[in-house]
């Protein structure tokens, strides 16, 4: 089996990233590659095209960086996302303002279409039709075709030079397992990028330690792994904003599904 590189630091994993590359970034609340994002910000590459769920907000923690920090700090030429502006007019972000004034290009894509364009990119399908967005502003100037009496929009696949992702477990063959809803975009982006770079919560396991039936992403799609070291960020506690850090003894164990019915 081909083996991915197992690298000691996030900086090493991103060392050959260049200006102008396209980067897919996994995560939807859970499953964001916070350590790789922060390293990407420090790497200071420019003119990036980001493909990710949304623009979001800057990191409240100065030691960590979010997608909005990359945009605000001039690293991004274009973003492809399902949220490019706040849905509350009272909360416009600086990233949104850069898009409004044309300093950053944006392609706004319905979330299911975004996911399927990424999936198609990873599956070798160049384009597909979907009913989503028909009859809206997004359909203007687009190729529309009727199937089963309904209008459908032509959508093109998305691929990228690099994907930066977050997984729960990995083995030396690059096989990945995601935990709960931290799976989200991570598996489909792994398939759609030429260089898939993954930060991993648990120590990298020897090949054979993961049950093949339980692998979410086959190692064939994975190029670089970094085990999140002690002090690295596992996840952000969403209600408090505090990062949960990697400790000497990984304390992340799957909690059982609550067996009792709701009251």
């Amino acid at each position: 089996m081909p083996r991915p590189q197992i690298l000691p630091t996030f900086e090493d994993a991103l060392a050959d990233l260049r200006d102008g590359m396209s980067v897919m970034i996994g995560g939807f609340g859970a499953g964001s590659p916070i350590n790789l994002l922060t390293a990407l910000w420090h790497r200071d590459v420019r003119d990036l095209t980001l493909i990710t769920n949304g623009v979001g907000f800057p990191s409240p923690n100065p030691d960590l960086k979010a997608i909005a920090d990359l945009i605000q700090d001039g690293r991004v030429r274009k973003i492809v996302a399902s949220f490019t502006a706040a849905t509350r007019p009272s909360r416009p972000g600086a990233a949104e303002e850069l898009i409004r004034t044309g300093q950053v290009e944006a392609e706004l894509v319905p979330q299911g279409t975004l996911a399927e364009r990424i999936r198609a990119g990873g599956a070798g399908i160049p384009a597909f039709y979907t009913p989503t967005g028909a009859g809206t502003l997004l359909a203007e100037g687009r190729e529309v075709r009727e199937f089963n009496g309904r209008p459908h929009l032509l959508e093109h696949a998305l691929t990228a030079d690099v994907a930066i992702l977050h997984a729960w477990k990995a083995d030396e063959a690059g096989n990945l397992v995601f935990r709960r809803a931290s799976r989200n975009y991570n598996p489909i982006m792994a398939m759609a990028a030429d260089m898939t770079i993954v930060e991993v919560e648990q120590p990298i396991l020897p090949a054979g330690a993961l049950d093949p039936d339980h692998v979410h992403t086959p190692g064939l799609y994975v190029h670089r792994l970094v085990h999140i070291p002690v002090g690295g960020v596992l996840r952000i506690h969403r209600s408090t904003g505090t990062p949960l850090l990697q400790t000497e003894t990984p304390e992340v164990t799957p909690q059982p599904v609550r067996p009792e019915p709701r009251p």
Binding site: F28, G29, A30, G31, G54, S82, F83, T84, A85, A86, T87, R88, P89, E96, I99, R100, A106, E107, L108, V109, P110, Q111, G112, T113, A115, E116, R119, T130, P131, T132, G133, A134, G135, T136, L137, L138, E140, R179, R180, A181, S182, R183, N184, Y185, N186, P187, I188, H216, R235, I236, H237, R238, S239, L244, Q255, V257, R258, P259, P261, R262
Partner: protein, 231 residues
């Protein structure tokens, strides 16, 4: 005057609106809840309704919002920051498979917030201004859900902060979908949307049909079974 006018006027709060939405879900339905007020709905269903809640991020079969002691940061709903509980029998898929089941038509109803709804079932919830910019907005999964779920229930305040109607003849903001809404729960009323008409089915405590009609920007018919909300 009818008896209900004697009750003090009391617009519905967010929890009450979520509770009304929960009452309107059929037994065994597969239900998607959008960001904002709808995500509270999973707190209000009864076990015998046997609802399966799905979330765009691939969580199939979740339950109520998680309390602090049971919060798992990897189990979140469409709001991405709200932890939910998993019901026995839950499953998790990736984002593309999550939208595959939406597009395939497995979801009976999606409950979404909105800025405007019109009698043709069109609604607007992805842009706060009509600036003609197709590159700026917050669509999330709303367009996929609206285009592919069997029904769309909207929950929103009855009027804007400055008193303008949100139930309108025609959406002035860019629409999320040109049709699909079948029910609107507002702070003052429950309104069915069918055959290009708004039909008032329930009123908030103390509000008459006339008072609700005055705050509505399109003709509002009154159901012969008009009743006070049951919350």
């Amino acid at each position: 005057m009818s008896a209900h006018t004697e009750e003090p006027k009391r617009p519905l709060d967010r929890e009450q609106m979520a509770a009304i939405l929960a009452q309107r879900l059929g037994t065994g339905w597969v239900v998607n809840l959008g960001v904002g007020m709808p995500t509270a709905v999973s707190n209000f269903v009864r076990p015998e309704q046997e609802i399966v809640f799905t979330s765009e991020n691939g969580v199939i079969g979740y339950g109520r919002l998680a309390g602090e002691d049971e919060e798992d940061p990897d189990v979140v709903n469409a709001a991405a920051v709200q932890a939910v509980t998993l019901e026995p029998g839950a499953s998790i898929v990736h984002h593309a498979d999550s939208f595959a089941l939406i597009r395939r038509g497995l979801v009976d109803v999606t409950c979404l917030g909105a800025y405007q709804v019109a009698p043709d079932g069109s609604f607007a919830n992805w842009k706060t201004q009509d600036d003609g910019r197709a590159d700026l907005g917050g669509i999330g999964g709303a367009m996929d859900l609206a285009a592919c779920c069997k029904q769309v229930y909207v929950v929103m305040e009855h009027t804007t902060r400055d008193g303008q109607p949100r139930l309108v003849e025609r959406c002035t903001l860019p629409v999320t979908a040109p049709s699909g809404v079948t029910l609107v729960v507002t702070s003052l009323a429950v309104v069915a949307v069918r055959d290009d008409r708004f039909v008032l089915e329930e009123h908030a405590p103390g509000y008459t049909a006339e008072e609700i009609r005055a705050l509505t920007g399109a003709p509002l018919e009154v159901s012969p079974d008009l009743r006070r909300v049951g919350v």
